[in-house]
């Protein structure tokens, strides 16, 4: 298909998704898609992503469209520059299809926290697609685009990938440049990728990866291969099952999906062993100190002076303008996290909360180090404790919402790469299995995922 036809077809699919009420896009236009097609006509057609339409989560800046982070406080903001990750995709022949809806400032697990309305699950409009990258996930799952960028701070790509039945890959912290990713939790944030297949996700990740002098936290390592190392089976590999990720109250459909996956892993020749990650139960509490603390600092910049919205109808002075702008510009979840972050960092509480959380974070990371040092090549777990839940189910109980990330946020705290692979459906809803690798071993993880993808029918009922 020539770029002009891809642009037209992508526009048609985006319009169709919008008309159905998916609410997964925040900004797109046929004119911008046509301009992308014109740009592609000046490039070599043998580029690795030539003609690939990619949705971009709206907390990754692009100079051509607004970047709102799904927040009123950034409504209408247009960045003067484009993120390195997006620039690399465009240089490799991809076209930016749209900016995708998300939980405001990437804070949430259901994409119900967007200031511009919730995103619907593509298979069941009453359910959530997961979050915070729910718009990107829904667009890939609905077949609008073959791949999309999301971002992870504590599981925001793997969890929606599992809920929507697609592939979601979080690289090692530092593998992909964050220049142009709007900061949330700086010691955790990673640009990550969704694909319909492992091959698509791996190719996009490969193009984005590699050192960037504009991001001091990006690792000085060569880019990942565009195609994972080929494997015909899993012989010679040892896969660890952390017992803390298979609790007695795990949803029966999720358990059935994982049982099926483990049987396939064994049949393909891998050795499966039980391991322990003893601090797992502390991952969510640790995350909800560290991430809000970093968010409270990073979001201090939105003050009504430098970006977007300004509110001062009842402000007496500049401090009042800051307070009113931030109070009216941020939504409830962002306000809650800023308050929690400020509380745990405030005088008299810093050591008890933030200092303690840093210690437990080191213990969580050591659990993974010990498991891998003990001879395990990869870990296999469920991605989520349940399939996609109903919209509104957890909105009034933030802590219940936080625990939907129980199997993903510990990996983020340890800075490790992980992916979610669809391994079946339970009563029609997708089930995701998670593979976790040692730092910078994305290729091992992707090559194993590709073997499993070939063997398992990700759309088959598991019970």
């Amino acid at each position: 298909m020539i770029p002009r036809d891809v642009a037209r077809e992508t526009g048609r699919r985006l319009a169709e998704a919008d008309a159905k009420g998916l609410n997964a896009t925040l900004h797109w236009s046929q004119a911008l898609l046509d301009r992308e097609a014109e740009r592609l006509e000046t490039l070599q057609a043998n580029l690795p992503l030539y003609g690939l339409p990619v949705a971009v989560k709206d907390n990754i800046v692009t100079a051509e469209q607004p970047t709102t982070c799904a927040s009123r406080i950034l409504e209408g903001y247009v960045s003067p520059y484009t993120a390195t990750a997006v620039a690399r995709l465009r240089d490799a022949g991809a076209m930016v299809a749209c900016k995708a809806n998300l939980d405001e400032f990437a804070m949430g697990s259901s994409t119900e926290n967007s200031a511009f309305g919730r995103v619907q699950h593509p298979l069941d409009p009453a359910r959530v697609p997961g979050g915070s990258s729910g718009g990107s996930a829904a667009l890939v799952a609905a077949g609008v685009v073959p791949a999309a960028l999301g971002s992870e701070t504590g599981g925001s790509v793997r969890q929606p990938a599992a809920f929507c039945g697609i592939v979601g890959v979080k690289p090692t912290y530092g593998r992909v440049s964050r220049y142009g990713l709007v900061a949330f939790g700086s010691s955790l944030d990673c640009i990550s990728v969704f694909g319909r297949t492992v091959a698509d996700a791996a190719k996009v990740l490969g193009v984005m990866s590699g050192h960037d002098p504009l991001d001091a936290t990006s690792a000085r390592r060569p880019a990942l291969p565009l195609t994972p190392t080929h494997r015909s089976d899993l012989a010679g590999l040892r896969i660890g099952l952390p017992r803390e990720y298979f609790p007695a109250d795990l949803d029966a459909g999720i358990r059935a999906g994982l049982d099926r996956t483990i049987a396939v892993v064994k049949a393909l020749g891998a050795e499966v062993v039980e391991v322990s990650l003893p601090h797992t139960k502390y991952a969510v509490p640790t995350y909800y100190i560290i991430a809000p603390a970093e968010a409270a600092s990073n979001l201090a910049r939105y003050d009504g002076v430098r970006y977007g919205l300004r509110r001062m109808s009842h402000a007496d002075d500049v401090q009042g303008m800051y307070r009113q702008t931030r109070g009216e510009g941020f939504g409830p979840e962002v306000r809650r996290r800023i308050l929690v972050g400020t509380y745990v960092l405030s005088a008299g509480y810093y050591d008890a909360y933030y200092g303690k959380a840093q210690q437990v974070r080191a213990l969580l990371a050591r659990d993974f180090d010990r498991a891998f040092a003990g001879g395990v090549d990869l870990l296999l777990t469920p991605t989520t404790p349940t399939p996609a839940f109903k919209a509104g189910d957890k909105v009034s109980d933030p802590v219940a919402m936080y625990y939907s990330d129980i199997f993903v946020c510990g990996i983020s705290l340890a800075g490790l790469p992980a992916l979610s692979l669809p391994v079946g459906r339970s009563e029609g809803l997708p089930v995701g299995a998670q593979l976790i690798a040692p730092a910078f071993e994305e290729d091992r993880m992707l090559s194993v995922a590709q073997v499993l993808e070939r063997t398992l029918d990700g759309a088959a009922e598991v019970r």
Binding site: A63, P80, Y81, T82, Y173, G174, S187, P213, L214, A216, T217, A219, R220, H279, K281, Y282, V284, P285, T286, Y288, I289, A296, A300, D303, Y322, R323, Q324, R326, G327, E328, F330, R335, R336, I338, L339, V340, T342, Y343, V344, S346, Y349, A352, Y353, K356, A357, Q358, Q359, V360, R361, A362, L363, A365, R366, D397, P398, V399, Y402, L413, A414, G415
Partner: protein, 100 residues
């Protein structure tokens, strides 16, 4: 470990430069109490003095060469100002200077 009530929430809101309507306060206090109780589970974990602190990413930030290079901008600098000529931003002439 600590109790969080309306006074603490008002104080933290002031530190955060965040206006919180009084009507929202009861629900916010209840939610923050739940969140703080949840994170206080970490008190169960014995002190881990022998474990080195976790450092995300490279242990030391790589320094760039001490060399001046153009900043990559999506749009030319001149497009960011109403007037730009010969490498300078053009600004209105100051009246007093004109008269002197």
């Amino acid at each position: 470990m600590s109790s969080i009530g309306p006074t603490e929430v008002r104080h933290v809101a002031a530190l955060s430069a965040l206006e919180v309507p009084e009507a929202d306060l009861p629900q916010l206090v209840a939610q923050l109490q739940r969140i703080v109780a949840m994170v206080e589970q970490l008190n169960e974990v014995p002190s881990a003095g022998d474990v080195p602190p976790f450092v995300a990413g490279p242990a030391a930030a790589a320094l760039r060469d001490d060399r001046i290079a153009p900043e990559p901008l999506a749009h030319p600098l001149g497009q960011t100002a109403p007037g730009f000529a010969e490498g300078f931003f053009a600004v209105p002439r100051h009246t007093a200077m004109e008269e002197s």
